[in-house]
Symmetry: C2
């Protein structure tokens, strides 16, 4: 395949942001194919698309294809491109159907794993500490100009000495574990294959998780979504947590059986929930999440930061250089086993 | 002085909570003098009061004497007791006028320093992270059922790599420094006498503070209130901070010149403020604090936790045993130099 006959599919938004870098790297080796926001590409235009970048601007309107024309146009192009060989995603996870489908067709998928880890870590800790100290009540009382101390029976529990179980000890979970320990908490990390982790006090396997929960004050989800973690937090697992325990989910909405969680929280089980991710995003106006008691939600924003988009772009550009010069790509994802 | 002729002044609330421990320790060595909530003691009753415990129940209605009858009754009793030799306070700080006045009269004052340090540390980090990640906006959007991502220009800055200057590196400031570093931040601690601190990346003196601020992303106040820190954060100091910087105050309201802070924030200087302490507490309905832009307030609640009251009681009871058996007291405060 000559340089003239292969194209890299990029969004107009990304092209405009990094045109000089892109053209320098692609020069003489590939053409750039500009995807206008939400406009489908004609099939003829896709014939030479060999690579594509799922950039952050495609996610702005959420990850629900039916309500995100930009993302669905990208997905349609990716699916229809006969010569597609590589997709890079701005996300850490590669669980989206469009990426999993592509992998099953033999397309290589690379991720931006780590690019948002510090921001997700900070958001997870912001959410955990907001629940632990009562920040949502501070905000609501401030808006009501109401100076109100908690009643003696409702004083926050001492966070120091509490036990957090963190599912997934990658860049994000490891960061959360370190931050929890700096606050005097004890941390057990859950990994698929039990390995040592210097970020945690102890490490256990996913199979051991249920036996750990009765002793957990916090269950923090920072794991990839795969066959092992989909629907992980269900009624049976929630029942094993103490009634005062908190749940933090910065992984994927599908790691939690939402109906089971809603039932548990409404029954007074769980002291607090912080969720950044949901089975359906964006949340609709009538979503039960908005008014779930003792619950803080954020709009899948945990990983956003001023430097995030550029870090994912840099990761793509680094891989693009590697791809065009025949070097091994970084952060190649493994296809998930069939469910 | 015989055991029968000396009394320890304690509140009814504390006496009811720890009567067995108190009577066991005092037995045959001192009488207990019960202060009913808000009721003044007759002068005759104060003749034999030799020690007093400023317990947390006295602070419930705030620290403004004019609006807290319980606290003002305690202060009046302490001032009128001719034989008073020792006061233990549930607070970490000993800056309250009633304690400073007593010290000037030769009364020994001991504090509960450290008892609330883990809770204050957690609250300071909850506030800092709430500002850094936009938690107040999450809460308000949740209440409005509004899924809203920040505009590209308003994305949170990457917290990792930011520089926090922490004034006061005691149990609280040291804990804050450790937590910040676990989140990838760089920390300079400010101590009155520059000393090493394993919690910080660097330590500097209060005199060096102004020169450090142009390079600071966060200014965190975790210092005692004394002649060196009263009015520390004024217009001149605020001007030296970058416009995006955040201020966290879990020390004392009087460490900040509030009028200067309000003017700076309203002029768009400072990216965020989290304050738990105020020059006048409780905040009144018409306080400017409630509606100050980019500001989160909590009702002097940073140190509250389920275990806090008991830890301060244990510290008092330990000192009471020492006092009655003639051993040296723990956490003896030094009187502040005259302003």
């Amino acid at each position: 395949m000559t340089s003239e006959s292969r194209a890299v599919l990029v969004t107009a938004g990304f092209l405009d942001a990094r045109e000089d870098d892109l053209r320098r790297i692609a020069a003489g080796r590939a053409r750039l194919h500009r995807l206008e926001q939400g406009l489908p590409l004609a099939v003829a235009e896709l014939a030479d698309v060999a690579a594509a970048f799922l950039s952050i601007d495609l996610m702005k309107a959420g990850t629900d294809m039916g309500r995100n024309p930009a993302l669905s146009a990208f997905a349609a192009a990716v699916e229809a491109a006969p010569g597609l060989r590589w997709i890079h995603t701005c996300a850490s996870g590669t669980d989206r159907a469009l990426l999993q489908d592509a992998m099953r067709r033999g397309v290589t998928v690379t991720s931006s794993t780590g690019a948002n880890a510090p921001a997700v870590t900070a958001s997870a800790m912001a959410g955990l500490l907001a629940l632990a100290r009562g920040v949502p009540q501070w905000v609501r009382d401030q808006d009501a100009r109401h100076w109100r101390l908690p009643a003696a029976a409702a004083l926050p529990r001492d966070l120091a000495g509490q036990h957090a179980v963190v599912v997934g000890v990658g860049a994000i979970g490891g960061g959360i574990a370190s931050a929890c320990r700096a606050l005097g908490m004890r941390v057990t990390g859950i990994r698929r294959h039990s390995l040592a982790s210097t970020d945690c006090d102890a490490v256990a396997t996913l199979e051991e998780l249920p036996t750990l929960l009765p002793d957990a004050d916090w269950l923090v989800l920072a794991c990839p979504l795969n066959a092992h973690t989909r629907g992980l937090v269900d009624a049976a697992l929630l029942e094993r947590l103490p009634a005062h325990a908190g749940l933090v989910n910065v992984a994927r909405g599908e790691a939690v059986v939402e109906a089971d969680l809603f039932a548990a929280v409404r029954a007074g089980h769980l002291g607090g929930v912080y969720a950044d991710v949901f089975a359906q995003e964006p949340l609709t106006q009538d979503s039960a999440w908005w008014t779930l008691p003792r619950t803080l939600v954020s709009p899948h924003a945990a990983g956003l930061s001023g430097g995030f988009a550029r870090r994912t772009q840099d990761m793509f550009l680094d891989n693009l250089e590697r791809w065009l010069s025949g070097q091994p790509l970084r952060n190649v994802a493994q296809p998930a086993p069939p469910a």
